[in-house]
Amino acid sequence: MSKRKTPGLNTGAMSDISFLLLTFFLLTSSINTEQGIPRKLPPPKADDAKEQKVDINKRNVLNVLVNFRDEISVNGDVILITDLKSRAKEFFANPANDPNLPEKVSKPIDGIGDFQVSKGVVSLTNDQGTSYNMYVQVQNELQRAVNELRDETALQYFGKKYEALDSAAQRAVTTAIPMSISEAPPIDYGSNGAQ
């Protein structure tokens, strides 16, 4: 008997099967849905009492209030969401050392040197009836103000935008421009803060 050749397998259907699987994964996959605005909640209870004892000067607080009609007031002025970023930016930067805007403390930072770090804190209070959308918009605008300041600082000291820096430099910039939002329940800063 002569040797028979093994017949070639018909692999035509293989691509059909893999196409089927491919379409399945195409349909079920969701790319990058895990994105959003990351935040840290303050630790519970015990540390809270300590936190409130810290003397917060009135000039160091930017009171942002959002009411149930999604209207925003900043330190008593009713403003639009589009103006919030510039207000927050001015507050954190305080370029002209205005006595009504937050004080700054000189702090040595690795890679930057002495830097005037703002002591400003945004106190964010929202009404129970505020819509979540507005809440996120406010958080977003505040974040945008800080991000723009960080970009400016990064450009000034490292010649690159914040995103392009390595982690050590990013840490330095983050120390220079801290993001401080306090979401404690409303406190009367007028009588408590400036003792």
């Binding site: 692999t11 035509g12 293989m14 691509s15 893999s18 196409f19 699987l21 491919l22 994964f25 195409l26 079920t28 996959s29 969701s30 790319i31 990058n32 849905t33 895990e34 994105q35 959003g36 605005i37 990351p38 935040r39 840290k40 909640l41 303050p42 630790p43 519970p44 929202n126 009404d127 129970q128 009836g129 505020t130 819509s131 979540y132 959308n133 809440y135 996120v136 918009q137 958080q139 977003n140 974040q143 945008r144 991000n147």
Partner: protein, 161 residues
């Protein structure tokens, strides 16, 4: 004689389809790797708000989702006054069990991660944009009480001009 056979009757040679399946498999693996299955079917309407300053979360395996929104089915459990449901895992929770359920949810989510990853576990609040803050505040308070401090407000990318 067959010497002068008519020309032009040549058949087109068949294409070799063997590597086609390789290419498709490559695609397949790509999608298999990047895909994450939705573990729970959604019981609430969820349209994320749009924001510009969003960040990607570092690791998908270290994210636990909490959905808040209007229920899709009328007979889901809702929080008073009855327009908004909170979904943990694959079910909406009753308002009287809220405290216990959230605590258990946080506990099981933390336990299913390695010890060194527990502090990096992020709770992603997937809240519909029309929900009022009172529900979000309730959940945030519970998270805070249970020491689940890393949270994320899920948001979509806003196209800037």
């Amino acid at each position: 004689m067959s010497r002068f056979r008519k020309e032009g009757k040549k058949e087109t040679p068949e294409l070799n389809m063997g590597s086609m399946s390789d290419i498709i498999f490559m695609f397949l693996f790509f999608f298999m790797v990047i895909t994450t299955m939705r573990e729970a079917s959604l019981k609430v309407h969820f349209t994320p708000p749009k924001a510009t300053e969003i960040q990607k979360l570092e690791k998908k395996s270290l994210v636990a989702n909490i959905y808040i929104g209007a229920p899709i089915n009328k007979n889901e459990n809702t929080l008073p006054p009855g327009e908004v449901s909170v979904q943990l895992n694959d079910q909406t929770i009753k308002s009287e069990d809220l405290v216990r359920d959230v605590r258990e949810f946080i506990g099981t989510e933390k336990e299913s991660r390695d010890a060194q990853d527990r502090d990096r576990l992020t709770f992603s609040l997937k809240v519909d944009q029309d929900v009022q803050m009172r529900y979000v505040n309730t959940i945030k308070q519970e998270l805070r009480k249970n020491n689940a401090l890393k949270i994320n407000y899920a948001a979509g990318k806003k196209v800037t001009n």
